[in-house]
Symmetry: C2
Subunit: 422 residues, 2 copies
């Protein structure tokens, strides 16, 4: 790839920077690797004399509410009580105790009868998706994603040399008629649609939730075509108000549906612990396809202690209240500053507001204006694999300090105004 | 795969065990996944009324010397000082602070001029190998391994649908004439030899070290054929006596050689933190091929604190003395009990003694006899991808209590004797 690397990779011409290499890596590199561009998550260069920006970018929990003291306590308990096991290989499927807690927790919430054996611990839900697609996708298979879609997921699916098809998302989640037509087009072309990747709750970035009747229809369409439903539920637990809808896994009775979960959004993205929840034969396959000796048993046992002690069940509702307040403040600030330049939905959960920019807003000018005003956001193009999306913007309220939200949106509104003046 | 799963996977016919599945996973599963058998690391069923076995199996550090107190202290320091960063995504290349420490440490030992940019943090060296081969191997490419070889590495290379060729290992490491002939045979068949995987220091399982002149020759052969040398140096730091030889990376000036390292053997296997050390273009490619948002920044920062505080540099020599004593005791016990039935080398480092069984020993009978005598070992077949190796056995001295070594070897000697009586 000749694309310019992000700033955390320094330019160099070899080890130590001064080697006249005879080994030809570019010749040797795998097709998969050659196909992979850099992740779109870049640190933008700041203009000289810039205002220190307020960032509305990464989908990361509130930094002031991280349960530092509880993590320290759980960690010390685990190391003193079971240090020998915490510090030893825990097997490719991951620490059974945490998988048991997950089974109990999900059985209680979804009325299921899962066991620890239905789970594999993974390096976040992104690691879970990687593990799953490598067990599922052959080069040339087709994967159906939502448009827009979290680009990290599109990248890992593409890395298996899958072809990508997208279906649009509206306020009730993915468009089932479009799904039906897309599947028909794929099979008419004698290709194999292997999976549907959907963030059904509080979609990233569109912040919409797949309606119940659509969930049923998705299952029906996928079942007819032997398409595996992969529901990434990273944000599912962060719900404001009504009871969460049953997962596609629960509605499908675990038949042809897999759920990806994570502690990244409820606890901390730095933990790197998530899970695949699936029927036994799929769990077996993804476990056989793990070669890294599994997720850290230390971290997994620390999380299990945190969960079993009841701290997790206290922590999540407290976080939800924080995110609800931030969402409300962001929405009222947007209402005050931005109605002329964009429209947006009311997220029922999760971390994001998804803005559709008015026709008069020039996205390139907006990018420049936000740099100068000092506010970070993610432009919509990052979420579309097909070049669309320039007229969208994702704003994240989870990670910014509550007190900074009005100022951030005031800056964003000024940037929108400047980008509309062209 | 129809092979029987290991005991940590319960048999079941679907989610919760009672689902009549309509989704056909076996039809959908990727070629890569279909090819993967279970890892050979199994828990053997114990016979009824068995003596509690003394295990000489896993390559795991001494459990009584785990630096629990220091880990607790480093962890608390890190969470209090930089918790917000430790608990947040750290990027696919991994925490720069730990990569800087690695660069400094390796520069000092090997006289190199590496920077943090030459490292990617990985889920142990096994995760590093996975990351690397996915960036390098196309289906049908040929990978050259040592015979015997650590089977986890063979598995991950095979999972990329590479063809495997093996070269034998003797007391001075891999046989360079055999390597030369193997490469010639591969290229004559118009196939592409992409990598040579070698555990050059204290080989697992053969406990031999690649001699200096052979290192030079390996580099020369691989350079001529654009073969990437992948030196897995998991055991390199555990050296008894003489100065370690320069790595193949150092000898090659970083050109066409990659080193895989890990904290698993010096600190703890449960940390799941290792690294790829490589020239910039290879580091770039493997970083682009990481989709799991990177190794835990929390664990990485904890290890960095442990290293920077000087504790690591005190810990490793202390561990080396423990392993040296255990090695000596295992060797003198073997000398006392087993000379009639096997021969072995004197490991200059690492965790293992590799036994070649005498012709009269029946390996199947040995397997049964050790079960009954109550001693665990790994039969040689696990380390050969081609069905060979039945007349070898790997004994690990690192993880067993020192006081149990004479008893363990007495049991092993009795089992050898019984297996020879046939």
């Amino acid at each position: 790839m000749t694309q310019e690397p992000p700033p955390w990779i320094a330019a160099s011409s070899g080890a130590g920077g001064d080697v006249a290499a005879s080994y030809n890596w570019e010749h040797a590199e795998s097709l998969r690797s050659k196909k992979m561009a850099w992740s779109p998550w870049r640190v933008r260069p700041e203009p000289p004399n810039a205002v220190p920006p307020i960032m509305l970018t990464g989908g990361i929990p509130d930094p002031d509410s991280l349960p530092i003291d509880d993590f320290i306590a759980s960690n010390e308990r685990v190391l003193r009580r079971e240090g020998m096991f915490a510090l030893q290989y825990g097997g490719p499927q991951g620490y059974p105790g945490l998988r048991e807690w997950l089974a109990k927790d999900i059985n209680r919430r979804e009325g299921l009868d899962l066991r620890a054996e239905n789970f594999v611990l993974t390096c976040g839900s992104s690691g879970g998706l990687e593990n799953l697609v490598e067990a599922l996708i052959n080069p040339g298979d087709v994967a159906i994603i939502e448009r827009p879609c979290y680009p990290g997921s599109t990248r890992v699916i593409m890395s298996c040399l899958a072809e990508i098809e997208g279906v649009p998302v509206d306020a009730d989640g993915l468009d089932c008629d479009a799904l039906e037509q897309t599947v028909a087009r794929i099979t008419a072309a004698r290709k194999t649609p292997k999976l549907l990747y959907t963030i059904s709750n509080f979609q990233n970035p569109a912040a919409s939730t797949l309606a119940l009747e659509r969930r049923q229809r998705v299952i029906e369409i996928c079942r007819r075509n032997n398409i595996l439903i992969v529901q990434d539920d990273a944000y599912g637990a962060i719900t404001f108000g009504r009871e969460p809808l049953p997962s596609l896994f629960a509605l499908a009775g675990g038949d042809g549906a897999v759920l990806l979960g994570t502690f990244s959004k409820t606890l901390a993205t730095g933990l790197r612990v998530g899970w695949i929840m699936a029927a036994q034969n799929i769990v077996d396959a993804v476990t056989r396809m793990r070669f890294d000796m599994g997720v850290s048993p230390w971290t997994s046992r620390m999380i299990a202690d945190f969960c079993e002690s009841g701290t997790y069940d206290e922590h999540v509702p407290r976080m939800i209240e924080i995110y609800r307040r931030k969402r409300d403040l962001m929405l009222s600030s947007l209402e005050e500053r931005c109605t002329k330049f964009a429209r947006w939905n009311v997220p029922a959960g999760g971390f994001f507001v998804w803005l559709e920019l008015s026709e008069g807003v020039d996205p390139v000018a907006l990018d420049q204006a936000t740099l100068e005003e000092g506010v970070g956001y993610v432009g919509g193009k990052a979420f579309f694999d097909n070049g669309d999306g320039a007229n969208y913007a994702r704003l994240c309220y989870s990670n910014v300090a509550e007190t900074e939200i009005p100022e951030a949106i005031m800056r964003f509104g000024r940037a929108l105004e400047r980008a509309s003046a062209h």
